[in-house]
Amino acid sequence: MHTLIQVTIIGLGVGCVYGLVSLGFVVLFKSTGVFNFAQGSFVLMGAYFMVTCVNDFHLAIGVAAVVVLVASLLVGALVHQLVIKRMTGQPMLPVVMLTIGLTLIIGAILSLFYGSQDYYVRSSLSSRNASFAGFYVPVSLIVVVVSSIAATAVFGLLFRNTRVGLHMRATAEDHEAAVVVGINVDMVQMVAWALSAALAAAGGILLANIETVNSTLSDIGLLSFPAAVIGGLTSIPGAIVGGLLVGVVELLGQTYVSSSAGDVTVYIVLIVILIIRPFGLLGSREVNRV
C-alpha cells in the first residue's frame, strides 16, 4: 500500500508534464485540426535548449526557462510559416505525414548538435527531497507540479479572456465561419503552433530538471497522444486529466508489471477507454463515428 501511494505521487508529478505536452497537442488539434506527430521533438528541443542555457550560458533556472520558452514560440511559428502553411486546406492525412517528416528533421538537427550522450541540467532543485507523512517527495517534483498548474492556468485565461484566445476558439468551432467574419485564420494557426511548441518545450524544461536529458525524451511526446485521446482530444481540462492518468498508469505499469512495460500499460488503458468511451473521459460525444 505504501509503495502504491508513493508510486502514485511520483506518477502524478510526471503526469503533470504529460498533461502540459498533451495540452499543447490538444490546443493545436482543436484550432488547426492537425495531429502533430512532432510534439515529442519539441519536448526534446526544450530540454536540450535548457541544458545549453543553464550549463553553457550559466543563466539562472527561471531566466533560462523564459529564454527557452520564447525560443520555442519562435520555432513553432517558424515551422508553421515555412512548412505547415503550405499545406493549408489539404486533408488530414498528408499533414500528419508531414509532421512525421518534421519529427525526423528536428530530431536529426538536434542530434547533430547534441549527439547521443546524456546531459544533466545543473539545477539546484534536483537533489533535495521533502517528506510528507512518510512519503518521499522530491522538491523538483513539487516545482514541476506547481509550474504545470501555473502554465495551465495562464493558458486557460489566455484562451478564455483574450482576443487571440477568442479567435482561436472561433477558428476551432468553425474554420470557414471564422474566415467569413474576418478573423485572420492564418495568424491564429501560427499562434496555435507557437503556443503548442512552447507548451511541449515547457514539458521539456521541467523534465530536464528531474531527469537525464538524452534523445529518448522525445518518447514523452508519444505518450502525450494517448493522454490527449484519453482526455477527449478536444478538451483542455481533459488533456490535463489524461496526462495525470497516463503518468500514474505508466509508473504503476513499470512498478508492478515490468520495468519496460510502462508505455504498453498506458496503451492497454487507452484501448479499454476507447472501447468504453470512444470520445474520451471529458470529450464531447460528437466524434464522427462510422
Partner: protein, 372 residues
C-alpha cells in the same frame, strides 16, 4: 511489335468498350514492352552486381549488392502492405515495424521452435499477422482514422516488448536464429535464389493487390477513402471494409517480416523500431501514396539513399571545420535529415511522388505528338 505502335496516339488511355476497361493490363503493347524491358534489366542485373557498373558508369560507391537488392524487394513488399492501408484506405499506420515483429515471432514459433518448413512458416506468419491485425482493428477502426495512429503506436510498443521477452525466454541475448530456408529439395541459400524467390512473391503480390483493387471489396475501399459518408450511403459497410483492408495489409506486412528475418538468418528485438515504421511511411510518400509503382520506386530509393548519403557525408569531412566533422561523424542523423526533408518537400511540391512523375512522363510520351 513495332516502335511506332508503342507510341500510338491512344496510348492505352482511351477505351472504347467495357472489356478494354476491365483488362488487368490496359495497353497490351505497353505491358509487353515494359515486361520485356524488365526481363532485359533482370538479365543485366548479375553483370551490374559483378562489375559494379551501370552502362559503363561506375556505381561502386553505392556498394550495390545482392543483399541490398533483396532487402529492397522485402522493403517493397512491406511498403505495398502499408500502401493498401494508407494509399487505398486513407488510414495512417505506424504499425509496420510491429507487424514485421509479429511475422518474425510467428515464423520463429512455427519454423524454429516447431520445425515447420520455410514456406509453411512464412505463410503461417502472414496468416497470423492478418488475424492479429483483424483483432486490433476492431477497437482502432471504430472511430476516426486518427485513432489508428495511436493504436498502432501502442502496438509498436507492445510488439517490441513482447519480442524482447520472447527472445529472452527462448533464445537469449544472441537473437532468434532462423534455420536455413528451402522449398522442398531446393535450398534458398544464395542471394540469387533469394532474389528469384522474392521477385516471384513480389510479382504475385502486385498482381494480387491489383486484382483485389478491381474487385468489389477494392472498389469499396477506394470509395470509403474518397468519401466515407457517401460510401456508407451506398450501402458499403465502412467498418468491415476498413477492417478487411487492415487485416490484408497486416497479412502482407507480416509475411514480409517473416521473409526479412529468414533472409537475415537472425533477428533481435532492436530490429523492429518506430524508425523502421517511419521509413516505410517515407517510402510510400516518396514513391507516391496509393500507387504500386510508387512502392517499388520508393523502396528502391530507400535502399539506395543511405549509401549515397554516406559517400556524401564522408566527402564532407574534407571540407574541414567543425561542421564538416560533425556531418561526417553523424551519418545516421544526416540520413534522417535527408529523409525528413524529402518527405516534407515531396508532400508540399509533388504530392503524387515519383509515381506521379512517371505518370506525367507516360502521358506526354504516349500521346506525342499530341499534347495530353
Amino acid at each position: 511489335l513495332t516502335i511506332p505502335s508503342l507510341f500510338s496516339w491512344h496510348g492505352g488511355r482511351l477505351t472504347t468498350s467495357y472489356s478494354q476497361e476491365a483488362r488487368i493490363i490496359r495497353d497490351r503493347r505497353l505491358g509487353l514492352s515494359v515486361a520485356a524491358l524488365f526481363l532485359v534489366l533482370l538479365a543485366y542485373m548479375p553483370t551490374v552486381l559483378d562489375q559494379q557498373s551501370l552502362f559503363g558508369l561506375n556505381i561502386s560507391f553505392l556498394a550495390f549488392s545482392g543483399t541490398q537488392m533483396n532487402l529492397c524487394l522485402i522493403g517493397i513488399l512491406g511498403a505495398i502492405g502499408l500502401n493498401i492501408l494508407t494509399g487505398y484506405g486513407g488510414l495512417v499506420s505506424l504499425g509496420n515495424a510491429a507487424f514485421f515483429a509479429v511475422g518474425a515471432m510467428v515464423a520463429a514459433f512455427l519454423g524454429v521452435q516447431h520445425g515447420w518448413p520455410f514456406p509453411a512458416a512464412v505463410l503461417g506468419a502472414a496468416v497470423g499477422g492478418g488475424l492479429i491485425g483483424g483483432l486490433i482493428g476492431v477497437p482502432a477502426l471504430r472511430v476516426r482514422g486518427i485513432y489508428l495512429i495511436l493504436i498502432t503506436l501502442g502496438l509498436q510498443a507492445a510488439a517490441a516488448l513482447i519480442f524482447l521477452e520472447y527472445q529472452d525466454r527462448y533464445f537469449g541475448f544472441g537473437g532468434v536464429p532462423y534455420a536455413s530456408p528451402g522449398i522442398g529439395p531446393i535450398a534458398i541459400d544464395s542471394d540469387e535464389r533469394w532474389g528469384i524467390l522474392l521477385l516471384i512473391l513480389l510479382t504475385g503480390t502486385i498482381a494480387g493487390v491489383r486484382t483485389l483493387l478491381r474487385m468489389r471489396e477494392g472498389r469499396a475501399l477506394l470509395a470509403v477513402r474518397d468519401n466515407e459518408l457517401a460510401a456508407a450511403a451506398m450501402g458499403i459497410n465502412v467498418f468491415h471494409i476498413k477492417l478487411k483492408a487492415f487485416a490484408f495489409s497486416s497479412f502482407i506486412v507480416s509475411g514480409a517480416g517473416a521473409l526479412y528475418v529468414y533472409y537475415l538468418a537472425n533477428a533481435s528485438a532492436d530490429l523492429f523500431t518506430l524508425d523502421l515504421a517511419i521509413t516505410f511511411i517515407a517510402m510510400i510518400i516518396l514513391g507516391g501514396v496509393g500507387s504500386l509503382l510508387g512502392c517499388v520506386l520508393g523502396g528502391i530509393v530507400w535502399q539506395l539513399l543511405p549509401p549515397v548519403v554516406s559517400v556524401a557525408t564522408s566527402r564532407a569531412s574534407e571540407l574541414g571545420g567543425s561542421l564538416g566533422t560533425a556531418i561526417s561523424s553523424n551519418q545516421g542523423s544526416i540520413s534522417d535529415l535527408v529523409f525528413g526533408l524529402i518527405i516534407v518537400v515531396v508532400l508540399i511540391r509533388w504530392p503524387a511522388g515519383l509515381a506521379g512523375l512517371v505518370r506525367s512522363v507516360k502521358r506526354v510520351t504516349l500521346s506525342w505528338p499530341f499534347r495530353g
